[in-house]
């Protein structure tokens, strides 16, 4: 099975210039590979760099060294060296990222927030919104909230909006940062179903799952952060 993500020699540190130039090493020489249809769970204590790794895969954080090769269409893109324009294209078509917290856009209703990733791919408004509605219903967001901007939603509601947005485009790669942290049991089960269905469809998933039940249900392999952490 071809790798969807291949990471080699990845090293990341932060330098805080405002605080005397203190350097925070996070990981060094990190390597991993994820195949299509496979789910890799990142494991390590708080502060061990799980979120930093996930953000690096999305090219949100910029590691110091290494390669992040991602299958994009018929080719392979190294997220470490690709120009910004190409990273945007990879994010649009290939990588879905569900952060822990929704970034709210003023005035934009939930339905449009969820439909947006399809809209930027050029999918017609009505089609995109129909798909968004189906996902929102599946995640038990009451219909009366669909036309409201999510700024006033509860933490769990916002997380479900974020999840719907992450899943809507059927991206070949999904990055999930604690996707069930503020969800009730029924919604956790729904998220498990969504992840399993995505895997079935060939999506490569990398996730941070603090919830044992969710992790056991979706993860094929566990990646231990400690080795790359100790090397830093």
């Amino acid at each position: 099975m071809p790798a969807m993500i291949e990471v080699a020699g990845l090293t990341k540190s932060f330098t805080l210039h405002g605080q005397g130039g203190v350097r925070i090493p996070v990981f060094a020489g990190l390597g991993l590979s994820v195949a299509a249809g496979e789910c890799l769970a990142l494991d390590g204590p708080s502060g061990s760099g799980k979120s930093t790794l996930l953000r690096s895969l999305y090219a949100n954080y910029r590691p110091d060294a290494g390669a992040i090769r991602v299958r994009h269409g018929d080719g392979v893109v190294d997220m470490m060296t690709a120009p910004p324009h190409q990273i945007l294209a990879v994010r649009r078509a290939t990588i879905g990222y569900v952060s822990q917290f929704l970034r709210v856009i003023p005035r934009v209703p939930a339905l449009a927030v969820v439909a947006e990733p399809l809209r930027v791919l050029g999918v017609e408004l009505a089609v995109a919104e129909r798909r968004a509605a189906r996902l929102l219903a599946r995640l038990r967001i009451p219909e009366r909230l669909w036309t409201l901007a999510p700024a006033t939603f509860s933490g769990g509601e916002q997380q479900r909006i974020n999840l719907a947005r992450g899943f809507i485009a059927g991206s070949p790669i999904l990055l999930l940062d604690e996707p069930t942290a503020s969800l009730d049991h029924a919604n956790r089960l729904t998220v498990i179903e969504l992840i399993c269905a995505a895997k079935q469809a060939g999506t490569a998933v990398v996730g941070i799952f603090h919830d044992r039940e969710v992790r056991d249900a979706v993860a094929d392999r566990v990646f231990d952060m400690s080795r790359a952490r100790d090397a830093a």
Binding site: F14, T15, L16, H17, G18, R55, A59, N60, Y61, R62, D64, T81, P83, P84, H85, I87, L88, R103, I105, P106, R107, V108, R119, V120
Partner: protein, 274 residues
């Protein structure tokens, strides 16, 4: 310190890799006598992309915008624009008349002060219609209808079509300036602090409008602002300027979430604390 410019600037890519880009800027420099306006700026921009430019006051943002938009001849460097019919053109080498035509039809320029971008002595409708007429539209009824539609688009009461802009509020003037620029469906728009001085709800509406145009019409934009929230909402990419030079650039979320340059870190930290 790690090199913030580790990512290959697009402008260094060979032309063959940029067939669908719209703007290509290389080594752009402008000096005011011995003072640096902007220095050695390079990037490429694609349709549907918004480039944000942030930096302290006096860091060269407006100088850069003026050089990019053809209003100011740079001391060195080039600005290439991919025209609809004649391929890539160095805009500062085009004959004056050709450049002016591009500025009226293909580009929009939204000034920091709307009074610089509007004609205060003619009606709101005429302000919008003027660029259509300049672009060759002759049918009066059509010009009027388009102007009216665009007033609605920027959420100004259509009944104000025949009013003079001198009787508009600051926020309305700014929206009128934007309508005036968008009516010819430009491919590229340059904006200098377009939301400065607007109250929050008007600002949100304007950003909404711009986001829609960028996504649905593939509008490209370069937007100078001091407001990182605006940048976060609107810009895909970001350049941070200091003393005329770009000290850091990248995707907006990269630069704001993982800033590397001491100045960028300061900028981001002050917002989070404020």
């Amino acid at each position: 310190m790690s090199a913030p410019e580790a990512l290959l600037p697009d402008a260094l890519l060979p032309d063959a890799l940029l067939p669908d880009a719209l703007l290509k800027v290389a080594a752009l420099t402008h000096l005011y006598g011995r003072r640096v306006g902007c220095r050695d700026v390079g990037f490429a921009l694609w349709p549907g992309e918004v480039m944000g430019v942030v930096g302290e006051s006096g860091s060269g943002k407006t100088t850069l915008l003026h050089c990019l938009s053809g209003m100011l001849a740079p001391s060195a460097g080039t600005v290439h624009y991919r025209t609809r019919t004649e391929g890539w053109q160095d805009i500062h080498r085009l004959p004056e008349a050709r450049r002016r035509l591009l500025m009226r039809t293909d580009w929009g320029i939204v000034h920091q002060n709307p009074r610089d971008g509007l004609r205060l002595g003619v009606s709101a409708g005429a302000n919008i219609g003027e660029r259509l007429l300049a672009g060759g539209v002759r049918h009066y009824g059509r010009v009027r209808a388009e102007a009216e539609a665009w007033l609605g688009e920027v959420e100004i009461d259509r009944a104000r079509l025949d009013d003079l802009p001198s009787r508009f509020s600051g926020g309305m003037l700014q929206r009128l300036q934007i309508a005036r620029n968008l009516v010819t469906r430009p491919r590229l728009i340059f904006m200098d602090e377009p939301t400065g001085g607007l109250d929050v709800s008007v600002q949100a509406r304007l950003l909404d409008l711009l986001r829609g145009l960028v996504r649905d019409l593939g509008l490209a934009a370069v937007i100078v602002t001091h407001d990182l929230a605006v940048v976060r909402l609107l810009a895909h990419r970001l350049m941070v300027m200091k003393e005329g030079a770009v000290v850091e650039s990248g995707l907006t979320d990269q630069v704001l979430d993982d800033p590397r340059h001491p100045y960028t870190q300061l900028l981001v930290a002050s917002v989070l604390q404020g």
